[in-house]
Symmetry: C2
Subunit: 271 residues, 2 copies
């Protein structure tokens, strides 16, 4: 079966699931939760349990590779198992923030798209076009390019260049590379005033928007900056997997609550 | 034993080994070589063999994580085995080009410094200071920040900002963060005219210089931009591991040859 381009699949999945919610499965051995302790096996079981409980109500999952890699090869085996367990039931973004040249970029893309069989990856723009291209080669798989991130350090370089701030140049550049309809942008919800500027620079790219919830970003501007052809995918990680005491009931209720709020906001903005 | 700051260790190792050569162990299943075929086990054995042959004549090794990650968990197990096999016999740079926020950055640093016990990592500056800090927390471990890379895409953003090009801002910014004497820069040998500009912006940081050999960068400006307090570490990957037909003798001779040429150039520049 030949799959549609990634951005078409992204929209179809929003329709099918009636969800723009991406759940970040960032399970942290240093946090307490009803679902896990600090051991790898307990984290592993918790991640699989959360997927079984939530897959039919989320657009997809974001797997931040750092949370797996901290355990080395054993963490990578967990990542492989979790990706296979999700399978076709939801979209999966490999939040690896990779960026490297030539062969290296191809190897990273191979890991994420072939070996792990994920639907999309996050990519760092600092090294330019040839670092991005291997992630765009298969139209069915997508790349979300880091544009404006949620952290304090976003101010160090992403606004570099006064009248032509780097993050808007990245947005326009990414738009120009979207020949295969499989490119999106990562724009943090913690910059509500800038979401509209990025939308203007890239009117036809979907956004992956982290920073809602624990990081303090507001939901409304994040949802509202979407368009019907390129919806905002809203990522929530800690705000869901550590809701309340982190029990499965609380996680499930948090998914329900975020979904409802996001859908109501989308509807109120005619999206 | 409390180790010295990374940049002190870097200099001491140049003295001890009489080498500024970093060998990039980028073994590629799609290339033919006398030492390996396309299987993971053959690549693994080749990497261990090359280390046994070369460790006493190289400053260190650069392990590009992409070449391991393409095999998933099994590749990570190879990376763990190889890092342990090198041990204290040479410096090891984890060329992972990581860049992420908060917890994620800490998890990546934990993987590279604690789990794999490597000496240094390469880090992407796009996300700013808080993405870098976890890599600087232990003075004995170092971070090389990507400044000006060897690939065509380096032109896309790294010179952004006309009179204040981003790569020079990154260099000055990194210099200001070098409180613990454990920070360096990645500057490609393919930009010989810019090496001197980066040196001016960061007179007291060591450079890790890729791009010599297969990528066409010249050796002399790469060596000459070093200073005795912050030598250039010259990385060669394909130019050594695929020298000739890639036999152990040819690899060994290429190490010898690069070392001699680099040392003669350093001497002729009074370094």
């Amino acid at each position: 079966m030949v799959l549609s381009p990634f951005n078409t699949r992204l929209r179809a999945e929003v329709e099918r699931k009636q969800s723009r919610l991406c759940l970040g499965l960032d399970l942290d051995p240093t946090r307490s939760s009803r679902l896990h302790d600090a051991t790898l096996n307990s984290l592993r079981e918790a991640s699989l349990t959360i997927v079984e409980e939530t897959w039919d109500r989320v657009w997809g999952y974001k797997l931040n590779f750092a949370f797996f890699e901290q355990f080395g090869a054993a963490g990578y085996a967990w990542l492989e198992e979790l990706a296979a367990a999700i399978g076709e039931r939801a979209m999966v973004i490999g939040d690896a923030k990779r960026g490297d040249i030539g062969n290296s970029a191809r190897n990273y893309a191979r890991c994420i798209f072939q070996h792990l069989n994920l639907d999309a990856a996050t990519v760092n723009p600092y090294m330019g076009q040839d670092a991005l291209e291997p992630f765009l080669a298969d139209p069915a798989r997508g790349a979300f390019v880091l544009c404006l991130t949620t952290n304090p350090g976003a101010e160090d370089f992403q606004r570099h260049g006064n009248d032509h701030p780097l993050y808007l140049e990245v947005a326009a550049w990414a738009r120009a590379l979207n020949d295969a309809d499989n490119l999106g942008l990562v724009v943090g919800a913690t910059h509500p005033d800038d979401l509209a500027k990025v939308r203007q620079a890239a009117p036809d790219l979907p956004f992956l928007i982290p920073g809602v919830g624990a990081q303090g970003g507001a939901l409304e501007p994040a949802v509202a900056c979407g368009a019907s052809e390129c919806p905002s995918i809203i990522n929530v990680s800690r705000g869901i997997v550590y809701a309340g005491e982190g029990s499965l009931d609380e996680i499930s209720a948090a998914v329900e609550d975020y979904n409802q709020r996001i859908n109501e906001l989308a509807q109120s903005h005619g999206l």
